[in-house]
Amino acid sequence: MRLVATTIIALRALRRNKMRSVLTALGMIIGVGAVIAMVSIGNGAKVQVEASIASLGQNIISVFPGTLTTGGARGGWGSASTLTPEDALAIQAEIAGVVAVSPEVRDRQQVLSNGLNWNTSINGVSPDFLSIRDWGLAEGVIFTDLEVRSTAKVAVIGQTVADQLFPGSSPVGQTLRIRNIPFKIIGLLKPKGFNYFGSDQDDTVLIPYTSAMRRVARRTTLSSILIQSTTQNQMPRIQQEITDLLQQRRQGREPDFTVRNQMELAEAATATSRTMTGLLGAIAGVSLIVGGIGIMNIMLVSVTERTREIGIRLAIGAHDHDIRLQFLIEAMVLSLMGGALGILIGVGASQIVSQLNGWPVQVSSASIIVAFVFSGAVGIGFGFYPAHKAAKLDPIEALRFE
């Protein structure tokens, strides 16, 4: 095999017809560019989802009222609100391996201070809420269990609420009115940013869940219960025991609650972004194959067009495998060049997308390597048939070809 000489021959042949070479590689350029851009955007989305899931806290089990096994006229989550503070206390008291429990009572209210007002989400919780959500305080303190028991009128606010109601001054020590009831602000949460559903986690006011039930939402049931377990491998057991305990407390009534762990929620969220990435990747992959077929197409045309050239080569001593190798190298060089250019364009495009839309974009080296190797393989794969066709030509007939 005359590898060096054949490579020279192939490169000269490509140089001889630059326009055809560029057009042939174009399919590859677009295909690889699309793959890199799509996968980068998909990866960026996935990384963001994972980060915001991690920001929810570790090893968390949630209990929601209502069941997901919808049948007949039964509703979904939160339809039959029978989750009570006693349920939360029972979980805390009776189940081993539970490190923290926080009831949640959610409501939306207009809050006022200093003559400014702001519509925000009021979240009634227990002091454990902060450790469960792995959330720190920028200033001040969280309310105590005593304040929870005494339905105290105290609040810890998020950064967004602070910015809206107390621009330019510290909110701690000031007063905030919810439903015209004054709450003393005792703490300011550290900023946490947006979650993966796109809502601003800092747009919140935390108050004792008891106060939320009696004074704000005026209800006797909870929106949910958050439970944190010690370790991840305890989670299935704890989840089962919570289910059993709540069922037992309902004395034979049909289950009206749903126990979910954070993994399952995370799974659902990442599954969506994975599907997205997969879908984008598949579309881009199709364009890669189309690019490969484009190369094959033009190589086949070029075998016919170059029949006389092949005849000349055969007449002056080329072996059939020299011709085959030449066409394979041509196809491979084209697709690798297309691949390399496509990688540049794909990386560039994903940077532009991230600049324009503010999407997080993650260019992975794996996708670059895969795209490059794949384009080489496409070159060999789709180059083989035209190369074989060229190598089989009869020298005399090829020379006579017009």
Binding site: R2, V4, A5, T6, I8, I9, R12, R16, N17, R308, E309, G311, I312, R313, L314, A315, I316, G317, A318, H319, D320, H321, D322, P395, I396, L399
Partner: protein, 257 residues
């Protein structure tokens, strides 16, 4: 006498494509010695190209034996034949058959790229330039075929045929696409090569052209019907002078009122 370069013994070629068989060569026996310069003549369809393709190892005879430089060509496979073409033979075609959009130099380098032994880039260039010098086109080495006249293109093709130092130079109607003056020019190159010891076999329609060779064969219906030495053969340099003189005379005649 030394062993002949070519020894054909009762060569037959039958084309079996389609319904009718064409018996293109019907038992030609022929010996060619080193240093010969042969013109093959004959009417169209008489089998000249078939004979040349056989001599050129482009095609295998249906029957008969062919020894090229002592090697039995009939027994070789496709790639071994390719090596024979590369190492022992040089081809010049009627239609030049240069690679388009490829410089004269790279065209001449081509046979070396297919040589069984690897040749360094420097040696390739040097040998290609030397070949171009022989045909008088060294100064045009970077020209593309479409920047050269027909005669110049044919000389590049001759340089390409020479570059691997063949035993035998084969040319099928090399002057078929050229006018008289350029034909004489090309025949001059052949005579120079032959004087340097290269064996040449060519096909031509034209008696004038055949007259530049040393031996003429006439083929009819696949057989050699005449085989004679040329007496008083034309010398290209002299013919060129005559041609130029005639041209000048013609101009004078036209110019005179």
């Amino acid at each position: 006498m030394a062993a002949p370069i070519v020894k054909l013994d009762n060569i037959h070629k039958i084309y079996a494509s389609g319904e009718v068989e064409v018996h293109a060569v019907r038992g030609i026996s022929l010996e060619i010695q080193k240093g010969e310069f042969i013109a093959i003549m004959g009417s169209s369809g008489s089998g000249k190209s078939t004979l040349m393709n056989t001599l050129g190892c482009l095609d295998r005879p249906t029957r008969g034996s062919y020894l090229l430089d002592g090697i039995n060509v009939s027994a070789l496979n496709r790639n071994e034949l390719a090596d024979m073409r590369n190492q022992k033979l040089g081809f010049v075609f009627q239609g030049f058959n240069l690679l388009s959009r490829t410089s004269a130099l790279e065209n001449v380098e081509l046979p070396m790229l297919y040589a069984p032994r690897r040749i360094s880039a420097a040696e390739m260039r040097e040998r290609a330039m030397h070949s171009l010098e022989i045909v008088g086109l060294a100064a045009r080495h970077d020209h593309l075929p479409n920047q050269l006249s027909g005669g110049q293109q044919q000389r590049v093709a001759i340089a390409r045929a020479l570059v691997n130092r063949p035993q035998l130079l084969l040319a099928d109607e090399p002057t078929g696409n050229l006018d008289t003056k350029t034909s004489v020019e090309v025949m001059g190159v052949f005579q120079k090569l032959n004087d340097a010891g290269i064996t040449i076999v060519m096909v031509t329609h034209e008696l004038d052209i055949a007259h530049f060779c040393k031996r003429n064969l006439i083929v009819r219906d696949g057989l050699v019907v005449r085989d004679e030495l040329v007496v008083n053969r034309s010398i290209a340099a002299e013919e060129m002078k005559k041609h130029l003189a005639a041209e000048t005379a013609a101009k004078l005649t036209v110019a005179a009122p």
